[in-house]
């Protein structure tokens, strides 16, 4: 990024330096004023009062509310991650199949689940399916299945882009040494695609972690439910609880994002990513920035 920043403007001379200093001061004052205004608003509504923040210093708050919620979030996310990776690989390979009776249904499934809001899907699984099966739906599995169908479909598209980015020579060489279609896919294409798409995959996992918060809406006791709703109801400190929960989410996702950045740098440095990585990056970019809740 720094390279772009540097080309957009000249190295500042005396006048530009003075202008930048003025801008810094003006904006800095504006920012401080804004922060103070927020602080004052909170003060006015008594949100800084000690009793509201005190619960966070007690271990029972963490043991009874935040940690079980965090555990529920992480466990749902972990199960859904594994399942959506499997779903993604299966449907990516399916969509690339040479048989229309495999590729067309696989494509339809992927396109459908990518276009349907995850919340709608979870509502259907949690409230709708019990009417069909005549037995209650576990809320954990409603969340996990919903997450898997949506994120798996997005990952399927990422894998497909990755597989198509592997140079043709790779599969031609594999066919030339006598491998079958399945072997080429399994031993040659998927491993290289997975490596090229690793940053995209990790970014999608961040999306998945954030999406577990939707589980709150159907009553899954995850971090938002336990750490904000229940905790806030218990101590009457909703704003404080929401801020603490936000910090936990940010730390969780930030570490995943850092991992993605590290993997991306490592892949680039190794220089072994498939040659067609650049166009993939673009297509993948759209998957990365897709801000599902």
């Amino acid at each position: 990024m720094s390279s772009t920043d540097a080309v957009l403007y000249d190295h500042p001379g005396p006048r530009a330096k003075a202008r930048n200093a003025i801008m810094t001061v003006l904006f800095g004052i504006g920012l401080l004023a804004l922060l103070y205004w927020i602080y004052a608003k909170f003060e006015e509504k008594n949100q800084w009062a000690g009793p509201l923040w005190e619960p966070f210093t007690q271990s029972t708050t963490w043991v009874d509310f935040i940690l079980p919620g965090l555990w529920a979030t992480v466990s749902a996310a972990a199960v859904a991650m594994v399942l959506s990776l499997v779903f993604g690989i299966v449907f990516a390979v399916g969509r690339l199949s040479e048989h229309w009776f495999i590729s067309i249904p696989a494509g339809a499934v992927v396109e459908f689940f990518r276009a349907v809001p995850l919340l709608l899907l979870m509502f259907f699984i949690f409230y709708g399916i019990p009417f069909i099966t005549y037995q209650p739906m576990s809320v954990f599995w409603a969340v996990v299945i919903g997450l898997t169908l949506y994120n798996g479909s997005v990952l399927a598209e990422a894998f497909r882009a990755g597989i198509r980015s592997v140079p043709r020579g790779q599969s031609e060489a594999a066919y030339a040494v006598g491998m079958r279609k399945g072997q080429v896919m399994q031993h040659i294409l998927v491993p290289q695609a997975a490596r090229a798409m690793l940053p995209v995959i990790v970014s999608q996992l961040v999306v998945l972690v954030k999406d577990t918060a939707l589980g709150y809406i159907i009553g899954y006791s995850e971090l938002l439910q336990m750490g904000v709703n229940n905790l806030g109801a218990n101590f009457g400190n909703f704003v404080a609880a929401a801020m603490v929960a936000a910090v936990i989410y940010i730390l969780l996702n930030w570490s995943l994002t850092s991992l993605a950045g590290y993997l991306e740098r490592r892949t680039r440095r190794a220089g072994k990513a498939p040659g067609g990585a650049a166009p993939v990056g673009e297509e993948a970019g759209s998957a990365v920035v897709e801000p599902q809740g």
């Binding site: 772009t4 957009l8 276009a115 904000v228 936000a246 940010i250 930030w254 897709e290 801000p291």
Partner: protein, 224 residues
């Protein structure tokens, strides 16, 4: 399909999608404007502005939208007393728009910033060489070219925004996901048709939109 022959139910369905459309339009507009401003901040020569942009992006991009919308309602409205409209439903709507906008703006900002990175460095250097200032450079040379590169990502962001609009249902707006939940609860015998109609409406609108943006991006792409 009997469910939808009842005018009350059909009305619930149309009202739900009307809210989604309004949320998408208002949230998308606000997020776009905010995102462009944030992107300009992130590439500006002033460190404080860059820091502010980066903080915004990292803060909102890593927080679940559900928590943000939730905070808009219980934090801003219930606890801090921010009222955006006297009418309860409209107030919820605008609180939802605020949540969607601040969240989506972070993604718009990142998309535009990566679009700026696709513009050849020589373009900016040439602009500087003929004496353009930072703003002239950005407005006349860089952003028009970056704009073509960000059509596809912005398209996915808009589509995601439309889907995310369902989350505003959490704070009591009768949008389509709430409408579907209600219809399912009162018509347990027709669960699948109800789901297919609601999900199908999203799919029928959003899948062609996605392909449309793909086509447009391809058409507008700077051929280098």
């Amino acid at each position: 399909m009997d469910v939808f022959s009842d005018p009350a139910n059909f009305d619930e369905y149309t009202t739900g999608f009307l809210w989604i459309l309004k949320l998408t339009a208002a949230g998308g507009f606000a997020a776009f404007v905010l995102g462009v401003v944030l992107a300009a901040m992130r590439v500006s020569p002033v460190p404080v502005l860059r820091g502010f942009g980066a903080a915004w992006v990292n803060l909102f991009r890593n927080t679940p939208l559900t928590l943000i919308i939730f905070f808009c309602y219980f934090g801003l409205y219930t606890n801090l007393g921010l009222v955006l409209s006297d009418e309860l439903e409209l107030n919820n709507f605008w609180l939802g728009v605020v949540g969607l906008a601040v969240y989506t703006a972070a993604f718009v900002c990142e998309a535009i910033r990566s679009g700026i990175n696709t513009v050849d460095a020589g373009q900016a250097e040439a602009a500087r060489a003929i004496g353009m200032t930072f703003f002239q450079n950005l407005r006349i040379v860089i952003l028009p070219q970056a704009g073509r590169a960000v059509v596809a990502p912005l398209g996915s962001i808009l589509i995601a925004l439309c889907k995310n609009a369902t989350i505003v249902g959490t704070i009591g707006l009768a949008e389509s996901s709430n409408a579907m939940k209600n219809l399912i609860n009162f018509n347990g015998d027709q669960v699948i048709p109800i789901f297919l109609v609601f999900a199908g409406t999203f799919a029928v609108v959003l899948i062609p939109t996605g392909y449309g943006f793909g086509w447009l991006a391809n058409r507008l792409a700077v051929k280098r």
